[in-house]
Each structure stands twice: as structure tokens, then as C-alpha cells.
């Protein structure tokens, strides 16, 4: 016996959960602007809004309809949570589609009525219109949910139960339904009475399946969903930790427990989520990513310590929870000559620790062509990749050609006093100019409002200073010094 859990118009039901009242005219669209209708609520459908219409068309049809935007990830999360809840009812759950699940109930305690009641109890908190029904196979069980919530159908009762149902239960394309209607077939009973051979010859091989379903036969196999491995360790109710060392000690214990579980499962975690519960009720979540997925307690602890540096809690920590996320198959790439190649995990720890230090910025530079000196490079935050880090440790693909070159140091821009002789600087900040090169005209952004037009000079001053100065408007500025 299979139990079918079905939420009609699941995406719309999730979107309107807690937002709209049931009697409101609702349209679910894929995006807010220029979107298309994914689902139309009962009243909107009655007014003429249909799936596939543009939002404008649907709003024109169902005047004053409220448009909700579909959030796929949220809907998926809700559905996964519902499936997790259903695990309590049966260990075998077939996730047919978002909004429809089948549970294999053979061997489970109780009767079909008990299972349906329990399913409703388990899913009450989701506040969705859940229909549950039992049947001998997938199609019959699902069709029973259309008949009524709580319907129980045995193999013998299948054909009479299905007979009055409309063809739409088979999820056929509208043109096929239309063709069948033209032939005078409007219900499953009428379809079941058609001769099998001529019907299949006329409608193709797929029609054999429809005919079987209409007769209450569904050979579709039951595919239990794979279980998501959850590895976590928790420490609650063992007193409070006011000292840093106490928290580290608890984390160490939990990290070892987690890593033990990971090793036993043959997995490695790429992300670790730590949840701290404080005495004052504060909950703080901290995600620590690894350069490579790991199951090594030492690496886990190093990363956690680095992440915790500089973190201050308002009250003693009373609860800790460590979750291993983004689980991967165990095994990491290692080098034969590790002495010459850096350990990415150590680099990850260094990044985390640098992030924890205030008043500093760890960055990577990227050079790009530009007119202005300041625009010729960009800085980015070095990010942890999934299995590597942005600081490349791979052997260089090409020989780097470099030559000993003069180095400009970018000093904070400040105004300087320049005296001219002819058109060239004769003194800068009361120091006489020994040698000078320039001007080089830089005219950037002339097509925009923030136009920069300046004349740049390299000047050697009598004290031995070698500066880059520029004139912008009527004023002179110091840009940098060669060193």
C-alpha cells in the first residue's frame, strides 16, 4: 500500500503561505517585471488568468490580482523539510516532484486511516493544503487525493474509483485531451473502455501507459529518495563557558567527534557551521570554509580558532553545535613534494586569521590598462575556492619576464606649492627642481561628468627626492615618489 501526499499548486501554496488570504486573487509569476504566470489561484483562474500568460495579460484578465514572485530555492527548502518530516512516517519516501510524494507503508504499524492522520499531524506546521490518500500503486494513490483528502482505495476498488475522474488526472498535454474529448472520451472510465490495440495504434506507445492507468494499473517503480547524510555534534546543558579556553576545549571535543563520524562515513566536509548559544539567548552562527574538504580534526580546529579570533560574545556560551556541510567523498589531492608546495589548508587558516585582525586588509592585486595611474590596478579579496585558493601555487605556465624597474610609491595625494619657470616646475615645496620630465597629458573620462584632465611631471629635487607631481586645474598635487 502506498500513501500519496499531494499539495495542489505547491509553488503557489508556498508563495502565498502567511502572505495572502485564501479568498484573494493571486497570480504566481517567475519574475516581477515582464514575467510569466506559473500558477494562478482559484479565483484568478476563474477570472481568466492562465499559466503561461504574461503577468500583464493575467492582470488584465483578473483585474486587481496580487502578483507573487516564485522563489525556487525557498520552495525547494520547504519541500525538503516536508520530506524530512515524512521520514518519521515511513523510511521509504519517493520524491516524485515538488508537491507530490509517495510513502511505502508495507510493514508500518497501524491502518491506512492512522497513516493519513499521522501525515496530517506531521505536516501541520507547514500550513499548506496537504491532501493524503492511500492506494495500491502510485497513480491510484495520487488519483485518490483528487477524489478527496483521506481517501483509501484498495486494488479492487481502483477501477470504480478512477472511472468518474477527468482525463486531466493523467497529466496529458491539452491537445491530446482535446482530441480525446472530440472522440467522446472525457473520463478515465471511458478511456478504460476503449479497445487497447486501436487506441495505442492511434495515439502512440505512450497511450498504452494511459490506458493501464485508467484501468488502475501503474507499473511505475517506487524509487526511495536517498538519505541526506547529516553529521553534527552538539554540546548543550553541560554548564556555561565564560573563558576562551573552555569554548576551545568544547570545540575540540566536538571537532574530534565530527571528524570521527566523517571518517566512518568515508566523507570529508568542505564547510563547517558552528552555532553558539549564549546565556542571554543570543544565537550566533559561524561558517568556516576549507580550502579542501577535510576530515582532519587538527585542520578543523585550526580553522575554527582562526575564525573565532576577535569574536566577542555578550554572555557565557551555554550551547555549541557543529555541523559538517558540503560533504564530499573522502580523499584529497596531496603532492609528493609537499616541501616545495604550500599547504592550502594552512593558507586558509592564515586568511581566516588575517580577516579577524582589525584595521587590515588582505588583498590581491590585478593590473589593467588605464590612463590614470590610480586606475591601472584593482584590488580584490582573496577568496577560498572549493578545492583551492586564489593564491595560485601551481607551477608557472610561462617564464615570467621581468626587469629591474623603477618603483613608484603611491603617496597620499596632497597639494604642493610649485613655482614655474617658463612652463616647467622650477621648485616644489620650496625645494628647487634639478631635473624634470614632462608634461604628459592625461585626459580621462571626457565623455562623463567626472572628467579628469591633468599634466603629470617627474621631478628630481635638490634633496635627491624623485617625485611624480601633477597639475590639475590651477593646483599642483603630489602623486607619488620613486624609490
Amino acid at each position: 500500500m502506498l500513501l500519496c501526499i499531494h499539495v495542489p499548486a505547491f509553488r503557489l501554496a508556498v508563495a502565498r503561505r502567511g502572505i495572502a488570504s485564501s479568498d484573494e486573487v493571486i497570480i504566481l509569476a517567475d519574475k516581477a517585471d515582464r514575467g510569466r504566470v506559473l500558477e494562478a489561484g482559484g479565483r484568478a483562474h476563474a477570472l481568466g488568468a492562465r499559466r503561461g500568460q504574461t503577468v500583464l495579460q493575467a492582470c488584465a484578465a483578473a483585474g486587481g490580482a496580487r502578483v507573487l514572485v516564485h522563489d525556487a530555492s525557498y520552495a525547494h527548502t520547504v519541500w525538503e523539510d516536508m520530506l524530512d518530516e515524512l521520514d518519521a512516517l515511513s523510511p521509504l519516501v519517493d520524491d516524485a516532484a515538488e508537491g507530490t510524494a509517495y510513502l511505502e507503508m508495507r510493514g508500518c504499524d497501524g491502518t491506512a486511516s492512522d497513516w493519513i492522520v499521522r501525515a496530517h499531524t506531521l505536516l501541520t506546521r507547514f500550513d499548506l493544503p496537504v491532501h493524503a490518500a492511500a492506494g495500491p500503486n502510485k497513480f491510484t494513490a495520487r488519483a485518490a487525493t483528487y477524489v478527496r483528502d483521506g481517501c483509501i482505495c484498495t486494488a479492487e476498488e481502483a477501477a470504480p474509483l478512477l472511472a468518474p475522474l477527468p482525463l486531466e488526472v493523467l497529466d496529458l498535454e491539452p491537445p491530446i485531451v482535446e482530441r480525446l474529448h472530440l472522440l467522446g472520451v472525457a473520463t478515465l472510465g471511458e478511456l478504460a473502455r476503449l479497445p487497447h490495440g486501436p487506441f495505442v495504434r492511434r495515439f502512440g506507445a505512450r497511450a498504452a501507459g494511459w490506458h493501464e492507468c485508467a484501468r488502475g494499473i501503474d507499473p511505475t517503480p517506487f524509487r526511495p529518495r536517498p538519505y541526506t547524510l547529516q553529521i553534527e555534534a552538539v554540546a548543550f546543558g553541560e554548564g556555561s563557558a565564560a573563558q576562551e579556553e573552555q569554548v576551545y576545549f568544547a570545540l575540540r571535543v566536538l571537532a574530534e567527534r565530527i571528524c570521527g563520524d566523517l571518517s566512518r562515513a568515508g566523507k570529508a566536509a568542505a564547510l563547517l557551521r558552528t552555532t553558539f548559544e549564549c546565556e542571554n539567548g543570543d544565537l550566533r552562527e559561524l561558517d568556516a570554509g576549507f580550502a579542501q574538504a577535510t576530515a582532519d580534526p587538527r585542520v578543523v580546529l585550526d580553522i575554527l580558532r582562526a575564525k573565532l579570533e576577535g569574536l566577542i560574545f555578550g554572555a557565557p556560551v551555554t550551547g555549541l553545535k557543529l555541523q559538517a556541510l558540503r560533504l564530499q567523498e573522502c580523499g584529497t589531492f596531496t603532492t609528493l613534494f609537499s616541501g616545495t608546495q604550500p599547504d592550502p589548508q594552512m593558507l586558509a587558516v592564515a586568511f581566516e586569521r588575517l580577516q579577524a585582525v582589525k584595521d587590515i586588509q588582505a588583498q590581491q592585486a590585478h593590473v589593467r590598462p588605464a590612463h590614470l595611474l590610480e586606475s591601472r590596478f584593482t584590488m580584490s579579496h582573496p577568496e577560498m575556492g572549493h578545492a583551492n585558493v586564489t593564491l595560485s601555487s601551481a607551477p608557472l605556465a610561462r617564464v615570467v619576464e621581468g626587469r629591474h624597474s623603477t618603483q613608484l610609491r603611491m603617496l597620499p595625494v596632497r597639494e604642493v606649492a610649485v613655482r614655474l619657470r617658463g612652463n616647467t616646475p622650477a621648485s616644489v615645496d620650496a625645494r628647487s627642481v634639478v631635473n624634470c620630465a614632462g608634461p604628459w597629458r592625461v585626459d580621462d573620462g571626457w565623455f562623463e561628468s567626472d572628467r579628469v584632465a591633468r599634466d603629470e611631471y617627474d621631478v628630481l629635487l635638490d634633496g635627491g627626492l624623485l617625485w611624480r607631481v601633477y597639475k590639475q586645474g590651477e593646483k599642483w598635487y603630489l602623486r607619488g615618489a620613486y624609490d
Binding site: 616545495t340 604550500p342 584595521d359 587590515i360 586564489t390 626587469r403 623603477t406 618603483q407 610609491r409
Partner: protein
């Protein structure tokens, strides 16, 4: 048999004397860190000592020490990772022109002496950077002692830039003084004239493993 042993002993003694004559007193264990200039490497008896603190000193402004730093970073990033703690004044396009592989260089901008020292501590502890550079900040001697021990432990070079304090001078294994001797300009006038480079005079005035006083003239162009 005896004559052969005497010959071997004589040869080893001669090799030792030759090494001493070349300025080397103790043979370094690990391969030294190249400064990026062959002339300066010769003056340093092979390069900066790995696992120690070295200083590049010179007057603020125009001493050529940043050019030497860029060459050392270029040399280090060709075969590993390097980190530069700075005050926001390093100019990446010029570093790239000097041959620094920017993908392998971590730039850490720190605005206070203690933040710089803390960053150096973190970077050295990671043991993944073969060269870490930082400004010669004024911090307590114990901090330099700690950083020196970390550099030794991680087998990395900690290169400081700027006038060394007494404490830093004490804990540094190598001290190099830099000054620009000559500046070269291209021929021409006005817009056709450009800075062509300069010549830096470097003097090693402290070296743990060789005699001090060696001078090298470096041409930057």
C-alpha cells in the same frame, strides 16, 4: 695511503680558505633567498639568509629600497608564495613590471605598527610564504625576537623596509643600506624626456654569515 690522506686534508683546508677569502665564513645550511640582483647576491654571499630577518635601509623618499624589494618579491614569487605588508603605497603595475607574479603575492595593508607585526606573525606561522616583507615599524624588541624565531621556524625570510630601530638592528641577521647614486634620464626635452632609471649603491653592513662591508652597485632601468 698516508700521502693520499694528507692530500685530501690539504684540499679541504684549501677549500675552506678559498671560501673565507670569498667572504664566506660559515656555509649556510639552506639555499639563500635571492635578492633578485646578481651583484647584491654576491655581496650577500649568495643572498639573504633564509629563516631570518633582513633589513633594507635607506632614507625616506628616494633610496631605491622598493626597487630591491620588488626584485626580491619577483624572485620569490617565481617559485612560491610571498606576502607584502605595506601601508597602501605599493604600486602593483610597477611590481608586475619588475617581474612579480601578482597571483602569488598577498598584499596586506596594515596601518599601525602593531597590526603590521601581528600580520607578519600570522603569515610566518602559516609556513606557506617564503618571503614576507613589512615596513620597519617601531615595536618592542620582544616582538622582533618573536618574529625572528617564527621566521627561523618557518624557514622564511622576513624582509623589512625602512630605517631600522635599535631593536630591529639587533635581531636582524642581514642589514643592507641603500642609496641612489645616479639618476638617468632619456635624451630629449619636455614630453620626450623620461625617467630612464637609477643606480643604487648598496652596502651590506651586517651579515651573520659573511664579512660586512661588501658593496654592490645596482642598475635599475
Amino acid at each position: 695511503m698516508v700521502s693520499a690522506a694528507v692530500a685530501d686534508t690539504f684540499a679541504s683546508l684549501k677549500a675552506g680558505l678559498d671560501a673565507r677569502a670569498a667572504g664566506r665564513i660559515v656555509d649556510s645550511g639552506g639555499k639563500p633567498v635571492s635578492s633578485g640582483f646578481a651583484e647584491l647576491d654576491r655581496a650577500l654571499a649568495g643572498g639573504f639568509i633564509r629563516g631570518s630577518i633582513a633589513t633594507l635601509e635607506g632614507g625616506a623618499g628616494c633610496s631605491g629600497r622598493t626597487a630591491i624589494l620588488a626584485a626580491a618579491l619577483a624572485s620569490a614569487t617565481r617559485c612560491g608564495l610571498a606576502a607584502a605588508i605595506h601601508d597602501g603605497t605599493l604600486y602593483p603595475p610597477d611590481l608586475e613590471r619588475a617581474g612579480v607574479v601578482l597571483d602569488r603575492l598577498l598584499l596586506v595593508c596594515a596601518n599601525s605598527p602593531i597590526a603590521s607585526a601581528r600580520c607578519a606573525d600570522i603569515l610566518l606561522r602559516s609556513r606557506v610564504f617564503s618571503l614576507v616583507t613589512l615596513p620597519a615599524v617601531h615595536v618592542r624588541g620582544t616582538v622582533w625576537s618573536r618574529l625572528g624565531a617564527l621566521a627561523k621556524k618557518s624557514d622564511a625570510l622576513l624582509l623589512t623596509l625602512g630605517q631600522a630601530s635599535t631593536e630591529l638592528g639587533y635581531f636582524a641577521s642581514t642589514r643592507v643600506r641603500c642609496a641612489i647614486d645616479r639618476i638617468f634620464w632619456t635624451e630629449g626635452n619636455g614630453v620626450l624626456r623620461e625617467l630612464a632609471g637609477y643606480e643604487i649603491c648598496t652596502q651590506v653592513f651586517k651579515h651573520r654569515r659573511s664579512a660586512p662591508g661588501a658593496v654592490a652597485r645596482l642598475r635599475i632601468a
